[in-house]
Symmetry: C2
Subunit: 358 residues, 2 copies
């Protein structure tokens, strides 16, 4: 039987509860697929600040580096919102992405037939939506230098960040996106602001050049403002989207919100080699933390992405995803996706139902 | 009677048709309100490129500077899409904004009761939406230096833009937004990415400091990814939004698309002094140009914004807006907002109906 070392980063808020369910579910699927998971837990985010003074202790990064994959739950909370940026939970997350060189963020947005009505959009607009947003995650304005708040000659302050991409940074994310598109619907939409930004012009040119190596993938380009509009107007037109770090932050959240159930959405962050990080799209929901109300399904689906994209264990991934479909088909719902006529379950009970489905 | 000099910039595509209607309507309202409009026409965008080689000839900028207000229709088209950026229609628009120092872009997004069903969102989600997006228009990553595509030491290319704001740039747009919020619902939401960007941290701090001078206005802050989600999830929560150039480009387009009828939406771009530019949010729609199918209402509503915000002629502005409401109440629609049981009108016929309502 194969053994995988999994770093668990439960983080803050509902993180520990949904991690507990996910571990149980992984162990159960491991037995069925003859896989053995060795879990080790690390600190990140607010709890890491409280216990070590740093949102990403070096030992956590070491743990992740020596693992086969990282499962992260959620970070942050009101408590740490007013600390200086270097000591905020988010800074730990950015440090993890940079430290593991996770340049490719995969964020699927899929409308599950059982949850169509959760969307704020009309049924006919969103039914069947199934797209993948591929976001560059270690470059662009998130990391570009120079940055800071500087004094000008006149004594004024000037806040500065640098939106920059090199050829190589664009090429590697474009290649990931083209590969993914070629395994999905063969359509890739690259999003930029090339009518205004030089960095986007380079982005567009490189993506177009690389796409010529993938004759089966149909490439289109949209400006980011138009892409945001099209996501709201007619989201079914999209198959795979590729874009930079900041545009990807915004567009992947719009895509997520189209489903109306971000408690269901997983993500994967991958590097060229080394472990990937798999985490739900939703936050740490401090207001319901510790009350057994959290929805564990996004983290379970993140574990499925880990199996599929990180460990290449497709059979186990399929089983997890089928278990999630099965609980939804049974009408079982946590509070965030509750609807008339359905059965309300807490986080643990949802976990138990998943185990029974496996 | 008062006389106003209005610079008309019909631009490309459907621009000339909707400008013609708007001029007639303005003349009619002028007679009723004892206002006299002197119209002069200038070249901008694709047609300016074709006739002069530049998307914003100096003589156009001079004409605008010596006018009381500028009415712009729309620019751009497939024909000019592959020119180098310095010769593209958009560059003329950016030059106009910079040349007239139009730092404040006002983009109202309102769901008209007659057109609720045009939205891709559910009726209960969008009914009653009425917000104003105040976008900074002459700073941020659109204009920040350094910018360009540079060669690195390794011979690679690096595309660079600079996202920067100074104290003074933030203060002046924050003040405009606070004034507007105080004349609307007294709620202002400032949007940034202060958890990641230094420039946003400065933005947030300055907006908060200025807001303390407006005790009646309730200030909130959202990160841009969350703001985009909230616009899709529950747009009624917003009254006035203030944000930087790039975030404003994206968010104002989302807000516009929520209405489902961007053929109805006007905008205003204002400086500290001098003429403002008033223009519809929609584009030049080259595919229907010259076919008498365009919707002139966004440009007519832009003329109303010109009367209200540019010339302080509120009575005339009210009359224009009432005329638009009246044609909609009569069930008259252009193709872009056509629905079952309504009467389809061309651009000219819509203009005639407006004249009859005035
Ligand atoms: C928490 C924040 C730094 C982060 C980002 O902006 O990348 C988040 O919004 C995300 O999308 O993962
Ligand atoms: C055409 C383009 C340069 C422009 C912008 O990005 O500002 C447009 O999208 C707008 O919103 O007016």
């Amino acid at each position: 039987s194969k053994t995988y070392r999994i770093a668990l980063l439960p983080g803050d808020g509902i993180g520990p509860e949904i991690t507990a369910v996910t571990v149980q579910v992984l162990q159960a699927v491991g037995i069925r697929c003859d896989l053995n998971f060795e879990f080790s837990t690390g600190l990140i985010g607010g709890i890491a600040i409280d216990e070590t003074g740093s949102p990403l202790p070096e030992v956590t990064l070491d743990l992740c580096r020596s693992s086969d994959a990282v499962l992260l739950a959620a970070i942050g909370g009101y408590k740490w919102d007013n600390l200086p940026r270097s000591q905020r939970p988010e800074t730990g997350l950015l440090g993890l992405r940079a430290g593991l060189q996770l340049f490719a963020n995969l964020r699927p947005a899929q409308i599950l037939p059982q949850l169509v009505d959760a969307s704020s959009l009309k049924r006919e607009v969103v039914e069947g939506v199934d797209m993948m947003v591929v976001r560059e995650l270690t470059g662009g304005v998130y990391f570009g230098m120079p940055k800071g708040i500087f004094k000008t000659e006149t004594g004024e302050q000037r806040g500065v960040n640098t939106m920059a991409y090199t050829d190589a940074e664009i090429d590697r994310i474009a290649r990931v996106a083209l590969e993914i598109a070629s395994k999905r619907g063969n359509r890739l939409c690259s999003v930029d602001k090339a009518n205004v930004l030089d960095v986007s012009q380079l982005w567009r040119d490189r993506v177009a050049a690389l796409a010529s190596e993938y004759p089966d993938v149909e490439l289109s380009h949209l400006y980011v403002d138009n892409a945001a509009m099209q996501l709201v107007r007619a989201p079914k037109q999209f198959d795979t989207i590729v874009t930079g770090n900041l545009f990807g932050d915004i567009l992947s959240d719009i895509a997520a919100m189209l489903t109306g159930s971000i408690g269901m959405l997983p993500s994967a962050s991958l590097g060229a080699s080394g472990p990937g990080v798999f985490e739900p799209v939703h936050g740490s929901a401090p207001d319901i933390a510790g009350q057994d109300k959290a929805n564990p399904l996004a983290m379970v689906l993140s574990a499925a992405m880990m199996l599929r994209y990180g460990l290449d264990e497709r059979d186990a991934a399929d089983r997890l995803e089928r278990a999630v479909t099965a609980v939804l088909d049974r009408g079982e719902r946590t509070g965030d996706i509750m609807a008339e006529g359905k059965t309300l379950l807490g986080c643990k009970a949802m976990g138990e139902s998943l185990l029974a489905r496996l």
